[in-house]
Amino acid sequence: MTQPVLYARGLNKRYGKVTALDNCDFDLMPGEILAVIGDNGAGKTSLIKVLSGAIQPDSGEMFLEDRQVSFPSPIAARQAGVETVYQTLAMSPALSIADNMFMGRELRKPGFMGSVLRQLDRPAMERIAREKLSDLGLMTIQNINQAVETLSGGQRQGVAVARAAAFGSKVIILDEPTAALGVKESRRVLELIQDVRARGIPIILISHNMPHVFEVADRIHVHRLGRRLCVIDPKDYTMSDAVAFMTGAKAAPLQVDA
């Protein structure tokens, strides 16, 4: 059996008397789309925040490509190759698409202009941003220098996904990517997710939208009461089964191997 790219064992996180993560395990296989579903308050947000470095677990271990890792900050997670597309997208609305794609990892001009005057290499950043967007079929955006706030919701999501996919990452976490979008834009984003997977990058998808989850996910991690209840194959179960596991209406299937 292949090794998981990213896995975690025995994660715990408590907030006072509330247990958000209760000895939680997690596995992400290479090249897959793993959906994480769970009822509100099940702790899936805490799990994702631990994986993306936004919070630190009280105990437990995480492994990325078989090396033990810990992420004290989102920046540390990103440097290790775990890119997160937050629900809020984390973009600066007044800045351009190119500025946003390179925020925090700008390219400088070579030579004197870059090393002494610290001038940004705008042409290179714009060229790369344009390439990355066209790779993902997002070039309905005409002007790479237009402000992000002038884009539609789907286009913004597209830019955020392209930013995550652009920087040689090992894992991409998408938090509710279709929650704020219309039917047509959701479809585009789902196609985009499949495009990213086709390039071999595994994706963790957090979503409340069961049709979307069942359409794109290879496996579904059902989170309940702060731990992994089961991992199911969307081909073997129906959406109502998944909702029943999630809410405790139905006992979880026995897992042979997680």
Partner: protein
């Protein structure tokens, strides 16, 4: 593998041309977009218009190279302080202590020279270091202790101003003394003229500071981070910007520029006076706002502040030459401030 749901089957023959939604491209919306990408355009237009109007009313008296460069000399101090204020306001902050830092630094430069007998160059360096340090205190309290910029700088304003009076003993160092013993302190008051146009070194410094900052804000990563922090600090942090370091460095640079303005101030008024420059903070905020920099952060350009400061200068000189009561200047500037913020709000709606 993909099993689009029934609802989405309706998308099979969807119209892909999402970008070409119908929108009437009126002249007004085009103007709105132009202003959105060039926020300094409004103050530039206002500046040109006011020069044309006063020129038409006053003729050669106003349109002389002497009068026009006089405006530059009069706005140089406010403009330099305004450059510091612009940086802070771009991060969605505000710096009420700019004027107090300027005066305190100029007093330190003067007193260290005359009371402690330091060489002027060393005293000036001490003043610059002090300004930077006060800026660091501002930045540290805002970025680390997470106090609101308004409160922090309100407090530091009072502290710096009181220290200024306590330390100087409310005593002015006269211009003749400085001229004979430490002319370096008055360096920025020296001028040269080109065909009737009189430039002081203070004016040159003002323009240079604005141009350097315009470059830094537009063409360096730090500059882009200043905008990102002001636009949405949380987003900038998640995108990998060290927001604390950006904020602290912005307030430090603001303090340094204000201390530098203190040096220029000695040149402008000749003496070192603890009571000078009291209105610099309000005037600098005025220049920034008229210059189209958004008080909510992340939008605007420092060139706009330059135009904003010049608009104020053109109004005050123009009205004075017309023989109007000085209060008319304040009245019109009040109108301009409100109009500038209204235009800012309108530009922000461009995406809606």
């Amino acid at each position: 593998m993909t099993n689009p749901t029934e609802a989405e089957a309706g998308l099979a023959r969807r119209n892909e041309s999402i970008a070409s939604f119908e929108q009437q491209i009126t002249l007004l919306s085009r103007l709105q977009h132009a202003l959105h990408s060039n926020p300094a355009l409004v103050p530039l237009i206002v500046l040109v218009l006011s020069i044309v109007v006063f020129g038409a009313l006053l003729g050669g008296k106003f349109f002389s190279s002497f009068a026009l460069t006089l405006i530059l000399q009069q706005v140089a101090i406010v403009g330099i302080v305004g450059a510091a204020q612009s940086l802070v306001i771009l991060t969605a902050g505000i710096d009420l202590s700019v004027g107090a830092i300027m005066v305190l630094s100029s007093v330190v430069m003067g007193q260290f020279t005359f009371r402690l007998g330091m060489p002027p160059a060393v005293a000036i360096a001490c003043g610059l270091v002090l300004g930077t340090f006060i800026g660091f205190v501002n930045g540290w309290l805002i970025a680390r202790v997470k106090l609101p910029p308004f409160i922090v700088t309100l407090g530091v304003w009072q502290i710096a101003l009181a220290s200024n009076f306590l330390y100087s003993g409310n005593e002015t160092i006269r211009a003749q003394e400085i001229e004979t013993q430490a002319p370096l302190l008055q360096f920025f008051g020296q001028s040269f003229s080109v065909a009737g146009a009189v430039f002081t070194y203070g004016v040159i410094a003002f323009i240079a500071i604005v141009l350097v900052l315009a470059y830094v804000l537009r063409h360096t990563a730090w500059g882009r981070h200043v905008y990102a922090v002001g636009d949405d600090a949380e987003a900038a942090k998640l995108a990998g910007v060290n927001t604390r370091a950006v904020l602290i460095s912005v307030y430090m640079l603001s303090g340094l520029i204000c201390a530098f303005a203190g040096w220029v101030l000695i040149g402008r008024i000749g003496s070192v006076s603890p009571t000078s420059g009291q209105t610099a903070n309000i005037e600098s905020i005025t220049a920034v706002v008229i210059g189209g920099i958004s008080l909510f952060g992340g939008r605007g350009s420092i060139m706009g502040m330059l135009f904003g400061a010049l608009i104020v200068g053109v109004f005050s000189l123009g009205l004075r030459l017309l023989g109007a009561d000085a209060q008319w200047t304040y009245l019109l500037i009040g109108v301009l401030i409100i109009a500038a913020v209204a235009v800012d709000q309108w530009i922000r709606k461009v995406s809606a």
